[in-house]
Every structure is written in C-alpha cells, then in structure tokens.
C-alpha cells in the first residue's frame, strides 16, 4: 500500500516540487496543521510578518524582483481578509502570487464559525482563480494548478482555501513527474503575417515611438535584452510606463523617460504627435492615456500583449499581436534582419526630423526643479540617492504618492526587476513589505524603499520583520508632513483647501527606528544629505532615513486628468517664464 500523506504534508510536498524556497505568512487557528508541518521541510523558509497585508506585499516584492511566484500562507477569517489588498494589488499589476489560506473545518463552513469568512467569495474578483478544497484527493492537483494559473499567460494572484479537516485528512501523493502534464492554453496567437504587417508599418512610419510596459518585465530578462536590440535596430524613440521602467536603460539617449500623468514633456508630446505607436506589454491605463478622445490622434497603433482582453479595451488599435513579448520581439527582429531592413539607416532621414522635434521638446527639461541650498528638495534627494547608489545593483521599492513619482522620474533604472511599485491599485504601505520580499530574494543587494511619511505609517509594523530576519532594507522617507499628492491636487484643483491632508502628531522616526532596534538617520539640510545617504548605505542593518523635504513642493510635469498629452502643466520655472495666466491656468 502506498504511503498516505496528510493535507498539510501534501501542501509542502507540492511547494517543494514547485521549488518554493520562501513563504511569507502568519499563523492562526485554521492553518495550524500546516504550520506544524513546516519544521519537516528545511528547504522552505518561512518569513513571519506582522500583518497579513505585509505578507502579501512582501511576496509581491519577492516575485517581482526574482521572477518567481511569491507564496503567502495565512489563516482563515481576518487572515484572509487582511491579505485582500495585496491580492488586489497583485491582480492589478500582474504579479504571480499563490496564497494559501486556512479555512474552518468543512462541517462548520456556512455556520458563521469562529474566524470563518467566505474567503473564495471575497477573493473571487481579485484573483485569477481560486479554489476551496473540499476533498483531500483534489488537494495535490489544485496546488499544482494554482502555480500553473498564477505564472502562465498574464501572471496574477491565485488563492487556495484549505479547511482544517482537509489539512489533517490523508491520501496518496503522486510526484508531479508522474502526473500527466496540466494542459495549458497556448499563449501565442500571432503568426508571421502579423509580424510582417508590423514591419511594414515600421517601414512607413516617419514619427514612430515604442511605448513599453510591465509586460516586458513580466516576460523575463530576455525580453529586455531583445527590446534593447530592437530599439537599436530601428532607431526609434522609446518611452515606458511606470511598471516598465528598467526594461530599457533609463540613461540611454533613445529613451524619452516615463510617459503619462507625471511623464516627461518629450514622451507625452511624442505620444501625441507620433504616426506609429507600438505598445509592447502595456495596457493603455488611464494615467497614461489622459483624455481618450484626444489620445495620439494621428497614429497607427500596434498593441503587443499576452492578454487578449487588453486589446481594444480602452484604445482601438490597428494591429493587435497577442503573444509573449519575448517571442513577438524575437520574431520581429529576426524578420527585420532577414529582410535586411536596417530601419535606422533607411529611415534615417524621415526619422531624423522626428528626432529634431523630440530634441526641441527635450530642451524644456520638464523634470527640472528649482533647487535650494536651504531646504532639501525631494527631487534633489532622489537624484542624490541615485547618484550615490547607481554604482551598485540597487533595488528600489516605493510607497504611493509624490515620492513615488519623483522616484520614477529621477531614478534611472538600467535593468528590469529592479523597480517595484504599486501602479494599478496605488497601495500606500506597499513599499516597506515589498522591500522585505525583495531583500529576501536578493540577500546581498542594496534595497531601498523610497517612501512618504504617510504611506510608511500604514505598514510600519513590518520593520520588525526586517529586524527579525536581518534584512538590511533602507526606508528612505521623503518627509513633508503632508499626504503630498492629495495636498497637490487640493492646491491645484480645490482652492488650496487642504482638507485632512496634513499629518499632525507624526512620530519621531529616528526614535521609532531605535525603538524597533534598527538605525534612524535624519537629514534636514541639503549640505548633510550626501553624507547621511552614504551612512545609510553603509549600515548593514535596516535603516529608517527621515529626510525632511520642502513641504510645498509639487510633482511636475503633470497632465491634469481629462486632458490630452499635449496639454501638460510644467513646473514653476516654466510657468513663470511663460507667465501662464487665464487660459493656461484653466488647464490645471
């Protein structure tokens, strides 16, 4: 008779077969049998968080920096509901997560038992799929299917809800190799004709632009390499969404910077005026498009995406190529080379005019700000952080708000998987736990969470996790005592009625750091900034860096919502020069 395994053992055997090395979790009554089994599986390390939301974001940071799925283990009821924000965040940003939740025993389901909630019901809209395991015989299949669903196609979170009696029940376990391979729907649905069509469009274009997104990062490091080759081969300008940063070098001359609501002047104007827009792995998010009716009105549009439902969802495109970014770019460059079309040369004249126009836009220097020698400007702080960390392989996470946009604008990424930020859901409190996950996946690398003082307080407790596991993450707080982005909108659009956006009674972050047992550093003057940043980098412990910045600084450039790309609001310097009054003011 074959050996029988308990549900808890099967969970771990499946995790082992999926080569899981870390899980992020928090124990509780309904998941105790699984926690009991943990000690027997030395290849799997458990990271104990302080709140289940933290486990979810940490798993996201782990997944996004390593390319492997993140695994979360939580208990029933509040354990599951606390992880919902992180699941939704992962769903919006296409991060592969496998969340295992405990559930009350099968016979108690539906009786309003202690710590019972309808976990699969609650998480149905924020997962790619979820399962309630009602029969121990299904557990193994479901566990492996969960990893399959989370990691294939457009990645995303899944949840497996396991009642406590199923964790105790016993059945056989058949090794995955013997199991028949789970059927997967083919992700590529394009053919050579589509590629030929794309190349014809590229050949004809005189004002082309690449608009790339998180899909390039999700497709793996190979996609980034191929993208660089394609961009060099064509000589086209390239811009990236928030999530796509790093897939193309941020300091390269063909890179126009980030586009969208807080994107650069040249990127947004190029998007508006182009005659060929090639979207690679981005989804025409509303922070990118601005006003839909006036979005890139003169262009032919190509959309390369692995998810068929992304095509024509927001912007109607002329050519849709459904497939994995890596495969599509590979076919494209192969065909380009085969046809011996060196677009950079053949199109040079046509495109050179386009580049001249772009250079003109560049002279606006839309990311410029008025620096000060009395007060630290937040943009300056990010620039200094970049300059002092660019010589090493640095991983940046962020919270959500002004600091996030400044980090995206001023920190130049050269590699994919180095930039972890909550873009779709915009979850304040994402960055600290995400940094923990990143550091777990990359123990020897420098990991910095560029934070705001309001966001960081939402998941502050996780610094305790960082200390427990000696994860030397750096929390770089741009402290302006305001919910900066809220304040900015209130200043610009709500007659400076700063309703509830000022944080009274902030903690002393240096003392707070010390209370947690890590290092606190404060910088209040531009003169001391570099020295303090160096100090932060050199400490081999978690650091909370309280960087006091200008409270009144706004994040520019900015496309006011509902406005097209060519109606940007530039920084104070430009506004002064052009004396924007009347009509210009109304653009805000």
């Amino acid at each position: 008779m074959p050996k029988l395994y308990t549900g808890a053992e099967i969970v771990f055997k499946s995790l082992e077969e999926q080569k899981v090395s870390h899980i992020f979790g928090y124990p509780g009554g309904a998941v105790l049998p699984i926690y009991d089994e943990l000690k027997n599986h030395s290849s799997i390390k458990h990271i104990l968080v302080r709140h289940e939301q933290g486990a979810g974001h940490a798993a996201e940071g782990y997944a996004r920096s390593s390319g492997k799925p993140g695994v979360v283990l939580v208990t029933s009821g509040p354990g599951a509901t606390n992880v919902v924000t992180a699941l939704t965040d992962a769903y919006m940003d296409s991060v592969p997560l496998v969340c295992i939740s405990g559930q009350v025993p099968t016979h108690l389901i539906g009786t309003d038992a202690f710590q019972e909630c309808d976990t699969t019901g609650i998480t149905r809209p924020c997962t790619k799929h979820n399962w309630l395991v009602k029969d121990i015989k299904d557990l193994q299949r479901i566990m492996h299917e969960a990893f399959e669903v989370a990691t294939t196609g457009r990645p995303g979170p899944v949840l497996v809800d396991i009642p406590k009696d199923i964790q105790f029940a016993k059945t056989k376990y058949i090794s995955l190799k013997k199991e028949k391979k789970i059927e997967t729907k083919s992700k590529n649905r394009f053919n050579q004709k589509d590629i030929d069509q794309l190349i014809e469009l590229m050949n004809k274009a005189s004002k082309p632009i690449f608009y790339t997104g998180g899909g390039v990062v999700n497709s793996g490091p190979k996609a980034s390499e191929l993208l660089r080759e394609l961009v060099a081969l064509t000589g086209f300008p390239i811009t990236s969404t928030l999530q796509g940063l790093g897939s193309y070098p941020g300091d390269d001359n063909q890179f126009l910077g980030m586009l969208g609501m807080h994107g650069t002047y040249e990127a947004n104007n190029a998007m508006h005026d182009c005659d060929l827009l090639i979207n690679i792995g981005a989804r025409f998010d509303d922070r990118i498009t601005g006003k839909i009716d006036e979005f890139s009105p003169k262009s032919k549009k190509v959309h390369i995406d692995i998810d068929p439902s992304s095509i024509n969802k927001i912007i109607k495109v002329d050519l849709a190529i459904v497939g994995d970014v890596t495969d599509v770019i590979k076919s494209t460059t192969k065909t380009l080379k085969k046809k011996n079309l060196n677009l950079e040369k053949s199109n040079k004249q046509k495109i050179s005019k386009w580049w001249q126009q772009i250079q003109k836009w560049r002279t606006k220097q839309s990311l410029n700000f008025v620096n000060s020698d009395k007060i630290i400007k937040p943009q300056h702080a990010v620039q200094r952080l970049y300059e002092l960390t660019k010589n090493q392989d640095t991983f940046i996470t962020t919270e959500v708000g002004q600091h996030q946009m400044w980090a995206a604008q001023h920190y130049k990424f050269n590699k994919p998987n180095r930039w972890m930020t909550s873009g779709g859901l915009g979850t304040m409190g994402y960055g600290l736990p995400a940094a923990i996950g990143v550091q777990v996946a990359n123990p020897t690398k420098l990991v910095v969470d560029v934070a705001g003082e309001a966001s960081i307080l939402m998941t502050m407790q996780e610094i305790s996790t960082a200390i427990q596991y000696n994860l030397p993450i750096k929390i770089f707080i741009l402290n302006n005592q305001y919910m900066g982005m809220v304040r900015q909108w209130q200043e610009l659009l709500h007659e400076k009625n700063y309703s509830e956006s000022y944080s009274e009674a902030l903690p002393d972050f240096v003392k707070l750091a010390e209370a947690y047992g890590c290092v606190g550093i404060r910088a209040e003057h531009p003169d001391e900034l570099d020295e303090k940043i160096e100090e932060m980098i050199n400490v081999d412990k978690p650091v909370i860096f309280d960087c006091h910045v200008d409270q009144a600084e706004n994040c520019f450039p900015m496309i006011p919502s509902g406005k097209p790309h060519n109606q940007m609001l530039l920084g104070p310097k430009d506004q002064e020069e052009n004396k924007i009054t009347g009509k210009g003011k109304a653009l805000v």
Binding site: R124, P125, I292, H494
Partner: protein, 182 residues
C-alpha cells in the same frame, strides 16, 4: 472652460447599445455561476436574463445563456473576459437580430376564471404552442414558448383573462442548420 476637479477623466462619447446573447460552456463545479455573474457585476455589465443547466453529464459541462446589452466594445470585452475564466471552455456570442440563431424563452401562466375565460386565454396563446399543464374548474396553468417580447405582450394581454401569476425562464439559444458552434 470649466475646471475639472476630478482626479479621473470624464466619460467620453458612447456608441450605440446592442443586445447580444452570450453562450458560455463551463465546468459544472461549485461557484462557477458566481464567477460568471460576478464578472458581469464587477465590471458593470448588464444581465437581462440568464439560463443555466448541465448539458453534458459525462464531461460535467454546463451551458450558461446570458442576454446582455452593451456597446460593441463592451460586448467584445465581456467575451474576452469570460474566456479568461479558468472553468470556461468556450464562449459564443450572437446578436439578437441574428437570423441563424433561434432564441426561445418559456413561460408558465396561471389563469383563474370560468372555462370560457380560460379558453379565451388559451386562444390568445395559440401562436406560441400553448400546453395546458394543469386544469381545474376555475383555473389553468398554460405553458408557452416564445420570444421575450412576445411573452411580455402575452403577459400583458392575459391580465384581462384572469392571469394571476407568471413564471418565466431566461432565453436559451441554438444555431440553425447542421453546424454547431465551435
């Protein structure tokens, strides 16, 4: 130009609404209907009617027929989003005007009155294959199969003939001819 105070863009022009019948083949497993229906409610799509039952016991397949109204873009999204659900096998999408597809709904009418009244009611239903499922001296239950608007009309007309209760199904659909939908 008035100031936009919204952090979100304002809705732009909307295209014409169409009514479609969407047929979804799904694994007949727990909560599959709520996944499908949840997709509609979560993304703000309409459901005008819904019919669902297992059609293949061996393969454990159910067939869900949904009547929905939306712009052509929204209808396309619905189909693509449905195809992403793990238990969904295939999705059919038909315009209501499609001549190659038969749509039918069934209704049960309870009519109360003397036999003359009941006969009048039965007569009124003549066009829609009426079947008397139950009859007493002062009541009858009549079954008809027809299109939605025909049933709407009958339900209205029969009021004067003693109609006291209506029960009806959602639409089911089948293509004409020998071909089946793939």
């Amino acid at each position: 130009m008035s100031k936009s105070k919204s952090a979100y863009s304002t809705p732009t022009k909307v295209s014409k609404l169409e009514t479609h019948i969407i047929v979804v083949w799904v694994d007949n497993e727990a909560s599959v209907l709520s996944r499908v229906v949840g997709l509609f409610s979560g993304r703000g799509y309409n459901i005008e009617s819904l019919a669902v039952a297992e059609v293949d016991q061996k393969n454990n397949l159910s067939r869900i027929t949904i009547v929905t109204t939306g712009t052509p873009e929204v209808i396309k999204q619905i189909v693509l989003q449905l195809k992403k659900l793990v238990p969904v096998h295939k999705v059919g999408n038909f315009k209501r005007e499609d001549k190659n597809v038969i749509f039918k709904e069934m209704a049960l009418f309870k009519v109360v009155g003397n036999s003359a009244k009941i006969n009048k009611a039965l007569n009124a239903c003549k066009k829609f294959n009426p079947v008397i499922l139950d009859q007493t001296k002062k009541s009858a239950v009549i079954q008809i199969t027809a299109l939605r608007r025909e049933i709407d009309k009958m339900a209205k007309n029969l009021k004067s003939h003693g109609l006291i209760s209506v029960s009806r199904t959602g639409a089911v659909a089948m293509t004409r001819g020998a071909e089946i939908f793939n």
